[in-house]
Symmetry: C2
Subunit: 388 residues, 2 copies
């Protein structure tokens, strides 16, 4: 186990009816609120009205930034920063999934910074502070509700980049599984893939002597696998939705499940370059890429892949070689993603070989990626070609 520091100050309010605590949760920070949301589904479901009622009860003045994209754009973030400055906003409320929360975080850190917010994503400046923000989660996937990370796309430059800061943790997040009943099946699938992928990035590690962390990772994977299909087939299954929601939050709440482990994140970086050009859903890109990353790297530490196969997928090791067990676990991952309806090839989303070179080059812009196996441009190109 490596040395580490860990802190996660976000307060979680979890369960049906927790939205009633929204007003009082905000009023400790301010009453001049920027409401950030996405494509308008929160109006169709009535959530928007419930939120406004809570804000009215604390006498809040409300500005709005609607229309945050599934891959949120820096242009939208800049718009939000301008509103915050003009309206002297003192609290940002994100209502939506990871994209909306990520946009709200980028706005929050951008407001007190004199330069352009994209500087943070290009490592040209360090985050020094942020407006306080909170979230009401409507989609289980990214864990953004309980961490300090934000991923933003710059379409002018076809770049999708991430930041992370203790200042960007939400002060609170309201997690009501009932709010995810209306999530379309394909987005539920993407959320499942995203949650599992976040665990993969932490679990497949070269760090030795981390038995507790490995088991915490396996606990989340097993819980997601057991509950995923239930939520897809019975969207209002409270227990399944609650189990997925808690799993997604714990999968990436500041690294709690992988403290002291070197993380990988290469597959996410490759996926970011795919969706920066083709604008496919993050979960779709991960479902396509991850099993191919696994096939490309598993020999680097086959014992971890054997453990994964046996503990998560219950592969019977009797009479099989390590190689066979590891590959059976990877195949089980591929099969599960396919079974729940996720794509398995880039061609399933009409992506051909044309931009593979560009995507591989951009993935390693800041140097080789990953740590389970360090990937150079050629490696990334190989994984993308395996995925065509």
């Amino acid at each position: 186990m490596n040395s580490f520091q860990f802190q996660n100050p976000t307060r979680i309010l979890f369960g049906k009816g927790m939205l009633e605590q929204l007003g009082s949760s905000i009023s400790a920070y301010g009453t001049n609120v920027l409401l950030v949301y996405g494509g308008g589904s929160i109006k169709a479901t009535g959530l928007y009205d419930r939120i406004l009622k809570q804000l009215q009860q604390i006498g809040a003045a409300v500005s709005e930034l609607p229309g945050v994209e599934p891959n949120p754009r820096v242009s939208t973030v800049r718009k939000g920063i301008a509103i915050c400055r003009e309206q002297k906003i003192d609290f940002i409320l994100a209502v939506g999934g990871g994209s909306v929360i990520d946009a709200a975080k980028a706005i929050a850190v951008g407001v007190p910074y004199e330069g352009d917010v994209w500087d943070f994503f290009m490592r040209k400046a360090a985050i020094q502070g942020a407006l306080p923000l909170g979230s009401v989660l409507t989609l289980s996937a990214t864990g953004s509700e309980m961490n300090g990370s934000s991923v933003i796309t710059n379409w002018e430059e076809n770049l999708k980049k991430a930041i992370g800061s203790i200042h960007a943790y939400p002060k609170f997040s309201i997690l009501d599984p009932e709010l995810t009943y209306t999530v379309p099946a394909n987005q539920t699938v993407n959320g499942i893939v995203d949650t599992m992928s976040h665990v993969f990035e932490q679990y497949f590690s070269q760090t030795a002597d981390t038995p507790l962390q490995e088991r915490l990772c396996e606990s989340i994977l097993q819980t997601v696998v057991e509950n995923g299909e239930k939520a897809i087939h019975t969207p209002d299954d409270y227990a399944a939705r609650a189990n997925l929601m808690l799993s997604a939050t714990y999968a990436l709440n500041g690294g709690m499940i992988s403290v002291g482990m070197q993380n990988d994140w290469a597959t996410h970086m490759i996926e970011h370059e795919v969706s920066a050009i083709y604008d496919i859903a993050h979960g779709e890109g991960l479902a396509i890429l991850f099993p191919n990353w696994m096939r490309y790297v598993y020999r680097e530490r086959i014992d971890r892949f054997v453990q994964f196969a046996v503990r998560v997928w219950h592969i019977d090791p009797t009479g099989k070689s390590e190689e066979e067990i590891a590959l059976a676990g990877i195949q089980a991952t591929r099969d599960y993603f396919t079974k729940i309806g996720a794509p398995s090839r880039l061609s399933d989303r009409n992506i051909d070989a044309k931009e593979v070179g560009r995507m591989a080059k951009e993935t390693v812009r800041f140097g080789p990626v990953g740590s389970f196996k360090k990937l150079h441009e050629d490696d990334v190109r190989s994984i993308l070609e395996l995925s065509l």
Copy 2:
């Protein structure tokens, strides 16, 4: 899963050499420090000198409260509160195990309160604030380094009672596994039993639909069982000490592993009454009582005990009844405690039946205890009698 709120603001600095961060971690809060510690082992190991050096580097004024007892006493807490007021202390640093940290927390919440600190423990007053505190952990056991709980003994009244408050969370805790190399074997054993018992109190729950939380609990139990004997037999096994330390912290860091689950805590309340009269180590009391609590209650939800037996103790269920599997898991718990050198009967610590009635009565002073099975005075007496 029940609805819940969760927040844990403590910053953890984990790993060898993290003590070098002590000075800078304190200076954000103040430089007039009360140093709280126990029986003086920190002087023998040289830790005391290393701490003082860190405090000198930030120019701190240092007052001291040495001699905190293994079952820390309210008289000692009152002494600490008096020092804080006289010396206008602005930060409390606890150096030791759970007892020292618990005492520091009680001092921290007692300073801003006008009445006597024992009022909090008797539910006569609510905690409204606290002096900031931090800890340097020297013993893996209680999780006090990352939660808001404190257990204090009042010898005048033979009472041992607990408080919990968001104000009592340490601002930071330094967890260096190397600092536990010198812990005597019997205290390592007590720490193992305490950690496992904390998980038991959360895991044996009547709450339905909590598959992730159950697995998180099992992850800790398995990790402790695998690493316990290594640490006992090879005190300077860094990996074993680190795995035990992280397990103990996660086992009780504000309930992270059991969010949305009703907890039990009856066995702890019974043990508190035993050690309030006989002053035995908390871990010894738990090792004696817990398997007997299990035998007394397992029929209330036999499926959880079956799962415990199979997943934690790897009991082969083939050809066995649920009853047999559950009892085999309980016996495995008893056997493990015995194997690592923990006592199994109250008579092992020279405790006879004389005070059983008084302990049973005091356990239920505030009403029946526990939730897996609600225990009345008669039930508590039966468990104590099983333990003689």
